[in-house]
């Protein structure tokens, strides 16, 4: 049995924990704690170590999904998780442009440490004030169209939508293995 470790990272409140909860076949191991910082304005609980979920993918492959905390003070967890990952998805809430800078920070942090396949998942695209894919690309620093990772819209609360994102990420991983 082959195990693929996928890392789910992204900004606070983008939907990382929900993403994992939506597809995991086991009860998700979470480390939610009551939020007391500015996160509390957004939601009551926040991940402080990691989320863990599992998904059987075909007869001889299992996916292990690890979700990171969103806040920078937990960047040691980003480090621990990303170094063991095979691929990652960066979730960004499309309707909170103020957090794009944080998304870029996470992205740079990951790029400094690993060169593994990645995709961008755009969440909250149905919310008022949501930015278009093109604008999000530009705002997180992907100017050159040739050099961009794939971006897909994800609704973390819907299993099918999350499954699609996971499949896209695994495909990207397979492509990079083939080369």
């Amino acid at each position: 049995m082959e195990i693929m470790r996928l890392i789910v990272t992204g900004t606070v409140g983008a939907g990382k924990s929900t993403f994992i909860r939506s597809v995991s076949e086991i009860e998700v191991v979470d480390t939610d704690t009551r939020a007391t910082d500015e996160t509390a304005l957004l939601k009551q609980k926040t991940t402080v170590a990691f989320d863990f979920g599992r998904l059987q993918f075909g007869p001889d492959m299992a996916l292990h999904l690890y979700g990171t905390p969103g806040q920078s003070r937990f960047d040691f967890m980003w480090d621990i998780l990303i170094c063991k990952g095979h691929a990652y998805i960066l979730l960004i809430a499309a309707h909170r442009p103020r957090e794009f800078r944080q998304a870029r920070k996470i992205l740079n942090f990951m790029k400094e440490r690993v060169q593994i396949p990645m995709i961008i998942g755009l969440t909250h695209t149905d919310c008022p004030g949501a930015w278009s894919e093109e604008d999000v690309y530009l705002s997180i620093g992907y100017i050159d169209k040739e050099q961009r990772p794939p971006m897909i819209k994800v609704n973390p609360t819907q299993r099918e939508s999350v499954a699609e994102a996971v499949i896209t990420l695994v495909q990207r991983l397979m492509e990079s293995c083939a080369v």
């Binding site: 007391t36 170590a49 040691f76």
Partner: protein, 123 residues
């Protein structure tokens, strides 16, 4: 009534200087924000706070999933000393750093004492 942060810091500082072999202490929220600290130089308060929160929540999760019950403390023993995490009421976590020469029994007693002091201020 607001929490007296000065008093918190004073208690922690006093605890670190007055207890032999204790090198540092930090009081943090369960989501990893500093409330007060007296740490060895070179240790970043924010980072220490975040790490304490991760450690505690993971420890508690292990307590639940592996049927160890509620967690009293988390103990990290290295060849250069100890790191001990203890819950301090609902809203705070205490991290104590001690050198390898520390006597564990004594350390536990001192931690218990300082916890009682801190809880009074947090109430």
């Amino acid at each position: 009534m607001a929490i007296n942060t000065e008093k918190l810091s004073m208690i922690l500082q006093h605890f670190v200087t007055a207890t032999t072999d204790v090198q540092g202490a930090a009081l943090v929220t369960p989501d990893g924000l500093p409330l007060g600290a007296s740490l060895p130089s070179g240790m970043d308060e924010e980072r220490v706070s975040a790490m304490s929160a991760s450690m505690l929540s993971l420890g508690e999760r292990i307590g639940i999933e592996l049927a160890r019950g509620s967690v009293d403390r988390i103990f990290v023993e290295g060849n250069k000393g100890f790191g001990i995490l203890t819950g301090c009421g609902e809203d705070a976590v205490l991290l104590v750093l001690a050198s390898e020469t520390a006597k564990q029994g004594l350390l536990m007693l001192e931690i218990k004492r300082v916890l009682a002091e801190l809880k009074l201020v947090l109430m």
